[in-house]
């Protein structure tokens, strides 16, 4: 049974793409169980292809799990739940033919917010992410970081209790990513939102998360959950604290073998890897090159 105070409960979720026996058949997730507590920020971290994004999409009702079930606020998930949760995607998914402001208003139109409230809420959301000056800009006129802020504003304007973020800063450079991470931490400390945040970056996971769920290599399942136990908003100084490094090292130890397994299985590094995979690749080439 899902626990009463869980915002999201994942029960025995397995997911596969394609039919068993096909060449393209992939078992992405195997028997995953997870409870996301109300008001916490939970990071999902794991090697490429471990199914962490798939699990996020299953939580949000964008993908239906092959077996198992997910419930949000006690309701079983059968499809998108726009009133309960909002997504922020890696590519901002802003509509390029609409201005930033129109994009935010349109999201609320889809969700069914009364017309009279939309513009006011859009303005507040833009102010919250510091984009008030750019309401009339088109996404193509903004930098990558600003586009992700705009996408975050759109998600905030929907006023859902839950935010699902799929590597929202994954396509950004490290400096922009750090600043956006700090801003997100400040924003969260003010709201009571529940957030599930998929990331490749160990540092980002430790810096942002209340708990970090570490995935095993494909077929993915949750290997261990680590609590960070540090109040929000987190300051940049947290990144240099011994505790930060201890947690980061602990995560790296947990992930290390999984990354090697994932790489051995996929043969080559097909996708773009961030710091986790880059470290592992360096370790592999350094150790075996001699």
């Amino acid at each position: 049974m899902p626990s009463a105070d869980a915002a999201i409960s994942v029960r025995d979720v397995s997911h596969s793409f394609g039919q068993a026996g096909d060449a393209q058949y992939v078992q992405a997730l195997l028997n995953s169980n997870l409870d996301v507590a109300r008001g916490e920020l939970l990071c999902l971290i794991g090697p490429s292809g471990c199914g962490k994004s798939t699990l996020l999409n299953i939580m949000g009702g964008l993908v239906t799990a092959t077996t198992g079930s997910v419930s949000v606020g006690g309701k079983r998930v059968n499809g998108p739940m726009p009133r309960d949760l909002a997504f922020v995607f890696q590519e901002s998914a802003l509509f390029p033919w609409n201005t930033v402001f129109e994009n935010i208003v349109l999201g609320m139109t889809f969700q069914g917010v009364p017309k009279a409230e939309r513009e006011d809420r859009a303005r507040r959301a833009l102010a919250a992410v510091g984009l008030d000056q750019f309401a009339g800009h088109y996404p193509g006129q903004l930098s990558g970081g600003m586009r992700q802020r705009a996408a975050l504003a759109r998600a905030l304007s929907l006023e859902t209790d839950i935010l699902l973020m799929d590597e929202p800063f994954g396509a950004l450079d490290e400096q922009t990513r750090m600043v956006l991470g700090e801003d997100l931490s400040v924003l969260l400390s003010r709201s009571k939102k529940t957030i599930v945040f998929v990331t490749h970056s160990l540092g980002e996971a430790v810096f942002l998360a209340d708990r970090v769920a570490v995935f095993s290599a494909r077929p993915g399942s949750i290997k261990q959950i680590i609590a960070v136990d540090e109040p929000h908003p987190r300051k940049p100084s947290f990144m240099t604290a011994p505790k930060f490094h201890a947690l980061r090292d602990q995560l790296y130890d947990l992930l290390h073998d999984e990354i090697r397994r994932a790489m051995a299985e996929s043969g080559q590094t097909r996708r773009r890897y961030d710091d986790v995979e880059a470290d592992a690749a360096a370790a592999v080439s350094g150790g075996e090159g001699a």
Partner: protein, 257 residues
């Protein structure tokens, strides 16, 4: 102002100069051919005579019935191909299988000169306007349907997923995501469709017809009234240029990239 827009405005100015000079050179050649090289006036009338006939056509309003016939045929043909092209293109684009079947088929038919079938159209629809409308609609259907399939095929799936996650209904998804995403490509298809509809309506009028600008031009040629025929050609060129400018302007307004 930054230097870049000024540089591009300057380049734009010079390309206009070259275009005007090109037209002026052709006019000059025309004058030379008739007045200096003495090409037969039956083959090539003098520009001044053509101008006098042009003024006469405009002043007497003689062109109006023929122009109305041609414009009506064009409007009817384009309305049919626009409606069918966009509807059928959208329906086909919904299924990968249908796209695979019909896209090469339509592209293949588009590449053959459909005007060859004009005699068949005349047999079916008669010598009057209906055969011109049917042929124009057939020919302009293909660029429109092909670009509609292309436009809806290019829609970023991430955008559709995002709209769904925010609760967009099917109708909202079409109106706010699929349609605006596909619009620039569809508009390019409509512009091409309009151009070929105009070509085929006037072209088929010159081959077999009862009225219209193409009919008038062939009639004048058969009566050896060359100066007036040239004046009508100039008139049709001006009308076609005007219509294409309007359509291109409309297309540019729909661009978002």
């Amino acid at each position: 102002m930054s230097p870049r827009p000024r540089a591009s405005a300057e380049r734009h100015f010079w390309s206009r100069i070259v275009q005007v000079a090109f037209v002026a050179a052709i006019l000059l050649l025309w004058v030379l051919a008739t007045d200096v090289w003495h090409v037969s006036h039956i083959l090539l009338p003098r520009p001044l005579n053509v101008w006098a006939q042009f003024v006469d056509i405009i002043r007497t309003g003689e062109f109006i019935p023929d122009l109305l016939v041609t414009l009506r045929e064009l409007a009817a043909a384009f309305a049919i191909s626009l409606t069918l092209g966009i509807t059928i293109g959208f329906l086909i684009s919904r299924s990968q299988y249908l796209v695979k079947v019909f896209e090469p088929l339509f592209a293949g038919i588009y590449s053959i000169p459909i005007i060859l079938f004009l005699p068949l159209y005349v047999l079916f629809f008669g010598l009057g306007s209906p055969s011109k409308i049917a042929l124009g609609a057939t020919i302009s259907f293909f660029p429109i349907v092909l670009n509609t399939i292309l436009g809806f095929g290019y829609v970023d799936r991430g955008l559709a997923t995002a709209a769904r996650s925010m609760g967009a209904s099917d109708l909202q998804l079409f109106r706010y995501v699929l349609f605006p995403a596909a619009l620039p490509v569809i508009l390019a298809g409509l512009r091409m469709g309009f151009t070929v509809a105009l070509l085929s309506v006037i072209g088929s009028e010159t081959i077999a017809s009862l009225a219209g600008l193409g009919h008038r031009i062939v009639n004048l040629a058969e009566n050896m009234d060359m100066a007036r025929m040239f004046a009508y050609i100039v008139f049709v060129v001006a009308i076609a240029a005007f219509l294409n400018a309007v359509v291109s302007r409309l297309e540019a307004r729909g661009k978002w990239r």
